[in-house]
C-alpha cells in the first residue's frame, strides 16, 4: 500500500491557537474529507501541507519527501485549491492556463477544456470580473488541468450552483477511477462528504482525529426507538435522547445489552444520518476512536 501523504507528530501554535496532529497516513486512491467548524484549523492544516505555514514540530512527507526540503519538486505532484484565488485578479482564465501549463509538466489540456466548457467558464474575462461561483469553477478547472496525483481542495464547492456541484463530483470520481490519485477535501457540504469520501478526519478546536472510515464511523452509532421511556437518565452508550424514547448511542452493543437485560423493548433502530453524527462530533467536541 502506498501512502502519498504522511504526517508525524505535527504541532503548530499561532497566538493562542494550537493545532496538533499525532499521526496521519493518507492511502493512495482514496478520498479523505477534512471536517470541522469554521476556524477549527482546516485551512492552516492545508497550508502546512503545502509548506505555506511552517510547523513548530513534526514532519510532513509527500511521497516520502519532506515538504521542508530545499528541493521542492514535490509541489508538482499536488494541485492545491485555497479558498480564494490570490493575485489572479488581473489575469484572464486563458492567461492563468498558460502559466499553469508551464509550471506543471503533467498538465492535461483535455481535462482543463472539458471541465471549463461543460461549466461555461468565460476564459477571456479577467478574474476580478467573475462572480465568486465562477471563480471557484475556474480555480477547479485549473487544478484539474494540472493532472497531479494529489488534489487538496479547500471548500471547493462553497459558492457553486447545484448542477455544477454535481458535475464536479462526477468529474472528480472519473479522475479517481484509475486508482492512483489521492484527494483531500475540506467541505461543509454533507452531500460532498456522502458521495465522495472514503475517510473522514475531524478537526475540532485544533485537535485532529485519526483517520475514520466513513461506514465504520456511521455504524459505530445507532438510534434506538423504545417502546417506553427508560427509567434511568442515561443508559450505557447513550449520548443523546429525544422525545423521551429515542436514544442515540455510540456504543450500540452496550446499549442493546442493557436494554434487553432490563426488558426495554426496541420498536425500531437504525444507523443515524451522517449529518447527525458529524453534528454530534463537532458540537459536543467528542473525539471518536473507532
Amino acid at each position: 500500500m502506498t501512502f502519498p501523504l504522511v504526517i508525524k507528530n505535527l504541532e503548530k501554535s499561532i497566538d493562542d491557537f494550537h493545532l496538533s496532529i499525532p499521526d496521519l497516513a493518507i492511502e493512495e486512491g482514496t478520498v479523505t474529507a477534512v471536517v470541522g467548524t469554521n476556524g477549527a484549523g482546516k485551512s492552516t492544516f492545508f497550508k502546512m501541507m503545502m509548506n505555506l505555514v511552517k510547523q513548530d514540530n513534526g514532519e510532513i512527507e509527500v511521497y516520502g519527501h519532506s515538504v521542508r526540503d530545499v528541493d521542492d519538486s514535490w509541489k508538482q505532484q499536488i494541485a492545491y485549491q485555497a479558498q480564494t484565488m490570490i493575485g489572479c485578479d488581473a489575469f484572464t482564465g486563458e492567461q492563468l492556463r498558460n502559466l499553469m501549463a508551464e509550471l506543471y509538466p503533467s498538465w492535461d489540456e483535455a481535462l482543463f477544456r472539458r471541465f471549463s466548457e461543460k461549466l461555461n467558464i468565460p476564459l477571456n474575462k479577467k478574474v476580478q470580473k467573475l462572480s465568486p461561483g465562477v471563480k471557484t469553477k475556474l480555480n477547479l478547472a485549473l487544478n484539474f488541468g494540472k493532472n497531479t496525483s494529489i488534489l487538496m481542495l479547500d471548500e471547493p464547492t462553497a459558492a457553486m450552483d447545484i448542477p455544477s456541484r454535481n458535475y464536479f463530483i462526477q468529474f472528480l470520481l472519473e479522475l479517481m477511477e484509475k486508482g492512483d490519485r489521492t484527494v483531500l477535501i475540506a467541505s461543509h457540504q454533507a452531500d460532498d462528504i456522502k458521495k465522495l469520501a472514503d475517510y473522514l478526519v475531524f478537526i475540532n478546536k485544533g485537535r485532529v482525529s485519526q483517520l475514520l472510515e466513513k461506514d465504520s464511523l456511521a455504524s459505530s452509532y445507532r438510534l434506538f426507538w423504545l417502546k417506553e421511556e427508560p427509567p434511568v437518565s442515561r443508559v450505557p452508550g447513550e449520548i443523546k435522547r429525544t422525545y423521551k424514547k429515542v436514544i442515540l448511542s455510540n456504543q450500540p452493543d452496550a446499549t442493546m445489552t442493557y436494554l434487553s437485560q432490563n426488558n426495554l423493548v426496541i420498536v425500531d433502530e437504525q444507523i443515524p444520518e451522517l449529518e447527525d453524527i458529524i453534528q454530534e462530533i463537532l458540537m459536543e467536541g467528542e473525539m471518536v476512536d473507532v
Binding site: 470520481l173 472514503d198 472510515e213 461506514d215 437504525q270
Partner: protein, 129 residues
C-alpha cells in the same frame, strides 16, 4: 448502469454484506446474467453514498465466491454461475424475506397461529387474482 440495490439502515447486517447478498439475489433471479457489467467501485460508492472501501470489500467477496469477475482495465462483470447455486440462492432470498416478516409480526405481538393464518389468507388472495 444503476443497480436496484436498497441498503437498509435499520438492519444489523453489515453494509458490505447487504450489498453482497443483493447482488447475489440479482444474479440468482436472472436480473443480472453472465457477462453483464457492474458499476465501477467509485460509481456504486457515490450512488449508495458509502465508502469505496466497503464496495471493494463486497466486490472482493463476490469475486472470491465466483459470482463476478474483474478484468484489468475493462471493469467488473457477472460470472458464469452454477444453476444449482442459483436455486439455493433464490430459496435463501425467500427465507430471508419471510424471517423479516416474522420479526415485524413479533413486534406487533402476533402469535404463530395468527401469522400462519395471515400467510394462508394472503396466499389465497394471490391465487384468486
Amino acid at each position: 448502469m444503476n443497480l436496484p440495490i436498497r441498503l437498509s439502515k435499520s438492519s444489523r447486517e453489515p453494509i458490505y454484506h447487504q450489498i453482497e447478498n443483493q447482488i447475489k439475489a440479482l444474479i440468482a433471479s436472472g436480473q443480472l446474467t453472465t457477462g453483464d457489467p457492474l458499476p465501477s467501485i467509485r460509481l456504486l460508492a457515490k450512488e449508495l453514498e458509502i465508502s469505496s472501501i466497503t464496495i471493494r470489500r463486497a466486490y472482493q467477496n463476490l469475486e472470491y465466491s465466483g459470482f463476478i469477475q474483474t478484468s484489468q482495465g475493462k471493469g467488473t462483470f457477472v460470472a458464469e454461475v452454477d444453476p444449482d447455486m442459483k436455486t439455493s440462492m433464490a430459496s435463501q432470498a425467500v427465507e430471508d424475506a419471510i424471517l423479516k416478516a416474522i420479526s415485524t409480526a413479533r413486534q406487533h405481538e402476533l402469535s404463530n397461529k395468527e401469522i400462519i393464518r395471515m400467510v394462508e389468507t394472503l396466499l389465497q388472495k394471490e391465487d384468486n387474482q
